[in-house]
Each structure stands twice: as C-alpha cells, then as structure tokens.
C-alpha cells in the first residue's frame, strides 16, 4: 500500500482537476448544509438560553394572613424554605410594603394609614423562588392549601404558556438540525455517486486487473475527506464570522434579548463543522462505493 500512496494522491488530485465543477458542487453542498447546521446549533443554544432566562425570572408571590404576628410570619417563611423545590424565600413585611407605597405616592406612613381607615392595609408578602421552573405550578398549588396564606399568585397562564412555548422552541430547534443534517448527508452521497459514476470505467478496469477494494476506495475516500474538509472550513468561517456579526448587532439594537456568547461552544461548533464535513465526505464516499465494489 505504501508503494501506491503516490498513485492515490495523484489520482485524488487528478480527479478534482478533471471534474472541477463536480468538486465545486460537492464543496458548496457540504458548506451550505453545514452553515445551516451551524446556525441551527446556535439557534438552538439561544432558544434554550432564552427559555431558561425567562423561566428563571418566574417566582411565586404568597400573601400571609393579616392576623399573623411577625413571629408567626418568620415561622411560616422558614417552613416554606424547607419545602422541596424551593430555592429561596424573601419577605416583604407589611410595614415595608406601606413604606414603599408611601414613597411611590409621596405621602407619609401615618397619613396613608389614616386615609384608609386607621390600619395598615398591606399584608406580609413572601416571594418564593423555585429551583426548577417546571415545578412552579405544583409548588404554588401546595402553597394554596397552607392555612397561613390567604392568596398565592404565580401568573399561572403565563407560566403554562411560556413553558409550552420554550418546549416548542426546543423541538423546532432539534427538528431543524436533524432535517438539515439528513439533507446534507443525502446530498453528499449523491455527489459522491455522481463522482463514482463518472469514473465507473476506471473502477471497472481497476477491478479487472485485480486492484483490491481497499485500494479502489482510497482515492475516493481521500477525495471525499478533502472536499468535506474544504466545505467544512468554509462553513466554519461563515458561521463564525456571521454569528459574531449577529451577536454584535443584536446586542446593540435588541439589548433585552439574551445572546449566547460562549467561547467554548463557539470553538466546539466550528471544530465540529470541520470534522462533520470530513466525516460526511468520507462516509458518503464509502457508502456510495460499496454498491459498485460488490458484484
């Protein structure tokens, strides 16, 4: 096999030179599918991130019975803190609520209390943060049964819809990646088939004079690898530069949107595109050849 390496590389190069348009088509197919794949991955990462950041802002507001003393409120607070799925509980006492309200409308505490009939109208409020947004609903329902609380708010419909929406975003993201990944593999294997077909006479003679299947495969394999690598490199450049540009643009115009800027993910995706291109080319070549080499 070492004696033949010269032949194999010469053939690979010759083939690309003989069929420049076919090679170009292969490279472009790999590139386009991998660009889409790359953006899909970033899209997926961003939707996941967006869903997570919306979800993490979800919290439960629980209002304590007016009759509770400050000690009882503290007991209730620590009791809720012990519940499974609770990350933290913060307390806004009725006095604080009154003070905040006074600040916003510009009156003094005593004047407000007098205005509303002599007693502080605000309840003590516990703000509950949950460890997993998926648990907001069940936790809120169990809080509702607590006798110390007379009202529990968690924006039930908003939570349900947001969770549904983020779930959908995830599925759509996965679907886009899967569909384009499959399309890329099919397109590449078609390209390689055309390539093999255009050299069927050569393959026929190689088989006739006793070249081993492994030997016949090598130039196609290397050609597939090379074309895939070129396509993957172009895709990595386009995806990398394009994503940076989009990130900068989004951050300067739509500042409220959280954009993933994970250098590790970035490197993994670009390197992954290179490897995926090579793998696609090589696997496509081998699969397409398999049928020709039998019989």
């Amino acid at each position: 096999m070492f004696n033949s390496s010269g032949y194999i590389f010469r053939e690979t190069f010759n083939s690309m030179r003989r069929n420049p348009w076919l090679s170009l088509a292969s490279v472009i197919t790999v590139m386009v599918s991998l660009v889409i794949l790359g953006y899909s991955i970033f899209f997926l990462a961003n939707t996941a991130n967006m869903a997570k950041s919306f979800e993490s802002e979800l919290e439960i507001g629980a209002f304590v019975q007016m009759s509770y003393t400050p000690e009882e409120v503290q007991d209730l607070k620590s009791q809720i803190e012990q519940m499974p799925g609770v990350e933290s509980v913060s307390l806004v006492t009725k006095e604080q609520a009154l003070e905040d309200f006074g600040k916003t409308i510009g009156g003094t505490q005593s004047s407000i209390v007098a205005d509303v009939g002599g007693t502080n109208p605000f309840p003590d409020k516990l703000t509950v943060k949950v460890t997993d947004p998926q648990n907001v609903k069940t936790l809120a329902q169990s809080l509702e049964t607590n006798p110390g609380l007379y009202k529990v708010r968690y924006g039930q419909e908003f939570v349900d819809q947001l969770l549904k929406f983020t779930q959908w975003l995830r599925w759509i993201g996965f679907g886009v990646v899967a569909a384009f990944g499959a399309a890329a593999v099919v397109l590449i294997s078609i390209n390689v088939k055309i390539n093999v077909f255009s050299r069927r006479k050569e393959i026929q003679i190689m088989k006739l004079v006793g070249a081993s299947n492994g030997f016949i495969r090598w130039p196609f394999l290397i050609e597939g690898l090379a074309l895939g690598l070129v396509g993957g490199t172009l895709a990595a450049i386009i995806v990398g530069v394009g994503y940076n540009w989009i990130t900068v643009y989004v951050q300067s115009t739509l500042t409220f949107l959280p954009v993933v800027q994970n250098q590790v993910l970035f490197r993994q995706v670009t390197l992954g595109l290179l490897l995926a291109g090579m793998a696609m080319g090589a696997i496509g070549s081998v699969f397409s050849l398999q049928k020709f080499l039998r019989a």
């Binding site: 096999m1 004696n3 033949s4 088989k207 006739l208 004079v209 070249a211 081993s212």
Partner: protein, 228 residues
C-alpha cells in the same frame, strides 16, 4: 487448468445462458469459443474471470474454486488472469504508457518496477513509438495492442478474450492473432470467443462450439464449422 463441472447459469431475468456445461482446458492450450450470438460464449468467458458466478455447478482454475471463493480473494485471482475486450476499455485520459502501467500501479507494484515492466511490455506488443500517445490518437489495432499489453503485463497464466478482433479489419485482426499466438507460445493459456471464421479455420486450434447454452461440439484442431 480450467475445469467446469455441470455449470448452469440462469440470469435473474430467467434467461438460460449456460446449461449443464462440462469442460476441461489444459495448461498452455489455445481454445476458440464459437457459436451464434447469444449462445452463451460471453457468459462462459465471464465465469472464467469471475465477473459472473454460475447458478449451479463448479468453476475451477488452477484448482482454485471460483464459486466458493470469498469476495476479497477475487482481486488476487484476477491478477493471474488477463482479459481482452472487443471495445478495448482503455482510459481515454491516460497515455499508452499510463494505461498499461495502470494495471501494475493499482496492485501496488513499486514505481521503478512499473516503469521497466511497462516499457518492456509496450515493446513486446510493438508500440514502443506510441508510448506517449492517447487512445484517440491510435488506430483500432493499436488500441487493441494496448489492451493486450495491459492484460499480459502481470504474466497471467490465463488470457481470456471476448471477440478481440470484432472491431478490427482483417489485416489488423491477424496482427492481433499473431500477438496472441506469441503469448500462447510463451506458456499462457488462451481462451478466445470469436466470430472470425477465417481466423479459426486457419489457426487449427481446439474449437468449442456453444449453442443454446450447451457444448455442441469440441474438436482438437477444429474449424469454425458454421456455413454462411
């Protein structure tokens, strides 16, 4: 050297190409396969270099069983068999030298050896002056010589030819036959399917006639036998 035992070949479309054929061809023989088109000559040739496998029966070459042979052993069988075609099957974008050298390169022969053996074989078939020419620059006879050179460069024990003179004018055909005769004299067994009556009658070699997939006649020093 070649032994066919109760060989039948039925193609997947139901065509019965060969029916219960028994044949023995000895080492160094020169054998003509004759018979009408579609009688099964080409199928028999293809069985010899294992392009096809018989539906029933056994094919043996040098005591190697071609039916039981594993797929990965086939390349090594082919290295001991040269094949010549009516349509030459040369690679159009390679020169004469490259076409012949191809047969050595693809089985991993070292480069220096490729060069010397290729030049010697091209010389043997009388194409020394055309070494750098491309197939389209050659006459039919010259192209067939390239095909012969490619077939014999590995010193095969067996040379099979499927109508090698079918595309050539009579004079050129005789040049090719002289070449095959020379190769046979050097010890290579030659099996040739042909319609060339004059050649078969003149050469006085063994003639096997195939009709409707069966051996209809098998004569030492026979003639073509089909009257116009």
């Amino acid at each position: 050297m070649i032994q066919l035992t109760n060989v039948s070949k039925i193609y997947s479309n139901g065509a019965r190409a060969l029916v219960d054929v028994n044949l023995k061809i000895g080492k160094g023989n020169f054998v003509f396969l004759v018979g009408p088109s579609g009688a099964g000559k080409s199928t028999l040739i293809k069985l010899l270099y294992r392009e096809e496998i018989p539906t029933r029966g056994q094919v043996q070459i040098n005591s190697r069983n071609l039916v039981r042979m594993k797929e990965r052993e086939v390349p090594y069988l082919r290295r001991s068999i040269g094949v010549i075609f009516q349509d030459f099957k040369l690679l159009p974008n390679k020169t004469v030298f490259e076409n012949v050298a191809f047969a050595l390169e693809v089985i991993g022969v070292p480069k220096r050896e490729v060069r010397s053996r290729t030049l010697a074989t091209i010389d043997l078939v009388g194409l020394k002056a055309k070494e750098k020419a491309y197939p389209h620059e050659l006459s039919g006879g010259e192209q067939q010589r390239v095909c012969v050179a490619r077939a014999i460069i590995n010193n095969p024990a067996l040379l099979v030819a499927d109508e090698p003179t079918g595309n050539l004018d009579p004079d050129t055909a005789w040049d090719i036959m002289d070449l095959l005769y020379e190769i046979n004299k050097r010890g290579t067994t030659v099996v040739m399917a042909t319609h060339a009556r004059a050649i078969v009658n003149k050469m006085q070699k063994r003639v096997i006639a195939i009709e409707n997939g069966r051996v209809a006649r098998d004569e030492e020093q026979g003639g073509y036998g089909y009257d116009v």
